[in-house]
Amino acid sequence: MWLCPQWVSIGSLRLGMGSPVHPQRACLQREPHSRPKGQPVKIQVPQSDLARGLSAVANVVSNKTTLPILSTILFDAESDALTLAATDLDVSVVTHIYGAETGKTGRTAIPAAKFVPFIRTLGPDAVKLQCTNDKVKVGSGKARFEEATMDPANFPPLPKLTQDTSFEIEGAVLADMIRNTIYAISRDETRPALQGVFWELGADHFTMVATDGHRLTRTRRKLDLGVKNPRKLIASSAGLQQVLRLIDEAEKVTIYVGETQLSFEVGNTTVHTRLVEGSFPNYEQVIPKNNRNHIVCDRQTLADRVRRVKISADRVTNQIRFEFEGSVMNLTATGTEGSRAEDQLSVDYEGEPLVIGFNHNYVEDVLKHLESENIVIALDRADTAAIFVPAEGPIDDVTTSDDLCLLMPLRLND
């Protein structure tokens, strides 16, 4: 009866926390109490292959979990391949190693905390793994390592690939789109829909949108993905982070869109994540259509000015005041302790003099992710959202730009 009594009590306590019971967690709870019965496994793997496989999966392993089995990596040795898997119940990563020699097929669950660092430090000699029913023995050259294993039967069932909708996309394009949106997601746990990235999969385009309620970013690529039924969904940011980590920009990624699940096949590795439930706000409605005033400026120069002036900004609101008049953009920050900083840069602007406040963190995020040399800031008034787009795009109607960032101003009350 080793882990069971304690495990069940922790498990049920967590289950009582008011949040809806996670389907996988619920299924874990129903697992019968059982003695560990890891199967005898015998395999030999090149160190570099094993280390790569572990790096792919180890990132989702948590040491702080209340379910001990989630701190392990599942090893499934079959005659043609060794499969490694790890999960935190929201994101699962599965990878295959084909260069392994399997002596005895079987499954085991090895705690990651010491095993992974140990394997990483090993030299190029092949790594021999030998499991009895409750222990793994590792040998490589003269180096030896032993660790107690857990019962692989307790490992959550791994998601299967769903074939409803699937398409291929260039790794570089996907990585770019994820990077351009994921920074703008909400950290507010009370708005789960905003903690993910919204996807629109159309017949000829792929759009990603992220917002935290104060700023919004949209990135759109005209791609023929061969998607028959247009879909809208919210992808979990934790899953996208894993994909971003694993992407090889030169290779293609296959994406499988299921009813409740999203899977990414990246080389030998697959990332499964649940779709975020809830509805994403109607983002198109908040992109202002009338933007009378257009300011064109050098992106890097503006970023430098913001970095300088923000030093004096209020630490709670992060406010910088932007004044546009003629060909000058003036930036001012005033802190509560009497600190004040100011600088300016020249811009192309022909509209009325305008004063607007922004959170400098938001401005810096935008400037980091719009990759053009010059940018356009389009806005109507000091209390409506401002649009930031690359100057290479259509300047007449900025709202049609493929890369678009929207910032709600800080209302200036001084």
Partner: protein, 428 residues
């Protein structure tokens, strides 16, 4: 610098005096207003006759009855106290435009620049005689118009004024003119100093400090060594350096409000209206001070006096009650205390800024858009008619509409009714 003057007006045994006023037959008898002993009641006010037995406010009623078995214990009549309080505040407002009511029976008056208005010549004995005449006239007017006695203190700072009002209670008038603050404080027994409770007093006495002057004559470094930060703060206090908020380095770090229940409350239905009211109060005080805060903290104490705090940092600061309440409720729900009896609950906002900049919302609901306007109107109503003139529906108690003022003793409506009988503390 122009002389600043503050008056502190404190009604003597207010609730008890009102009861005696309305029932003259009680005159001279030990009278107290408070909760019932079986219901963890505390004394809200005790007449001076009762005080000779050692009964004082905030004492558990059970203990008061042990000290004085013939104590006449009366339930509070808030409506009546409020009526008289309003009358008194009106008298004060007649004297001076800057009246800050601190509670029903206490107010602080900013008299700075009003000397000539009240016929005080500060060239003659620092204005001592003139201000004394003013304070006596004020006290007299309150007594003739309401039949109640007030103690009045005057001083260069709000704290000195408050201490002065307490110095010769009841019906005392103490004026500490400019330059006298140091001597006045120097003669005070340490127990009378603000911030010195029984424990600190005991520590001070053990080290040989009896009067404030003992502190004044001790080097700061030594006080710091003996009592840490508190030692340095005491010296500031004694040297009358503390100018009640005009020092820029005395910026507030948090604004909070908490309440202790007469009987432990259990469950969200009982706690939610309380949190709602606390949030309203904290939000209003933030707005009054032109502050916004980003960190919401919930404090909760169980019946075993175990205190728990939970905090959450929001991405943007706020001074709006619904946001503070929603965060506090979320923290409370996350604690899973549905079944746990709660003795005390409090809400504090920190991470404050004086910046009034407000981050715009992309997807604001109409209600959110209207909130600042609603807040302004509600604040105006509260300033004019008191904090109970207007309450959010969610702030009403689950057990029924109850408009008894916050912080007051309510007439109990049967055991376990979940009603409040709260004492409150302001933490800043």
């Amino acid at each position: 610098m122009r002389a600043r003057y503050f008056a502190h007006v404190d009604m003597d045994a207010f609730y008890a005096s009102v009861e005696v006023l309305d029932r003259p037959e009680l005159s001279g008898l030990p009278v107290a207003v408070g909760g019932k002993p079986g219901e963890r009641g505390v004394i809200a006010a005790a007449s001076y006759a009762a005080r000779t037995f050692g009964v004082h406010s905030a004492m558990p009623t059970a203990q008061a009855l042990r000290l004085c078995p013939e104590l006449i214990l009366l339930p509070g009549r808030m409506a009546r106290y409020q009526e008289l309080s309003e009358q008194i505040m009106q008298i004060l407002r007649d004297q001076c435009p800057a009246v800050e009511p601190l509670s029903l029976d206490e107010a602080s008056l900013d008299l700075s620049g009003c000397a000539r208005l009240h016929g005080v010549d500060e060239a003659v004995d620092g204005g001592h005689k003139g201000w004394t005449r003013f304070a006596q006239a004020l006290q007299h007017r309150i007594h003739t118009e309401t039949g109640l006695w007030a103690s009045v203190g005057l001083g260069e700072t709000r704290r000195i004024a408050k201490i002065a009002s307490d110095h010769r209670k009841p019906a005392g008038v103490v004026v500490v003119v400019r330059g006298e603050g140091r001597d006045f404080l120097a003669d005070l027994p340490i127990e009378k100093l603000r911030g010195v409770g029984p424990k600190m007093a005991e520590r001070l006495r053990r080290q040989g400090f009896r009067r404030a002057r003992d502190i004044a004559s001790t080097p700061r470094t030594q006080l710091q060594q003996l009592f840490g930060k508190a030692g340095s703060a005491l010296l500031d206090m004694v040297e009358a350096r503390d100018l009640g908020g005009v020092h820029p380095d005395r910026r507030e770090k948090s604004v909070g409000r908490e309440t202790t229940f007469a009987r432990d409350l259990v469950g969200m239905a009982a706690l939610e209206p309380v949190l709602s009211r606390l949030s309203e109060n904290v939000a209003r005080r933030l707005r009054k001070r032109s502050l916004q805060g980003r960190v919401i903290q919930l404090k909760i104490r169980d019946r075993g006096f175990h205190t728990f705090t939970r905090r959450h940092s929001m991405t943007t600061p706020t001074d709006s009650a619904p946001r503070i309440r929603d965060e506090a409720l979320r923290l409370l729900r996350a604690m899973q205390w549905e079944q746990v009896p709660v003795r005390l609950i409090g809400v504090t906002v920190s991470g404050l800024t004086e910046s009034r900049a407000v981050q715009g919302e992309l997807f604001a609901t109409d209600e959110e858009r209207r909130q600042p306007g609603i807040d302004r109107i509600v604040d105006a109503i509260h300033d004019r008619f008191g904090s109970n003139a207007f309450l959010r529906g969610r702030s009403l108690l689950a057990t029924g509409v109850d408009r008894t003022p916050w912080g007051a003793t309510l007439s109990p409506s049967g055991p376990g009714s979940g009603r409040l009988d709260s004492s409150e503390r302001i933490s800043q």
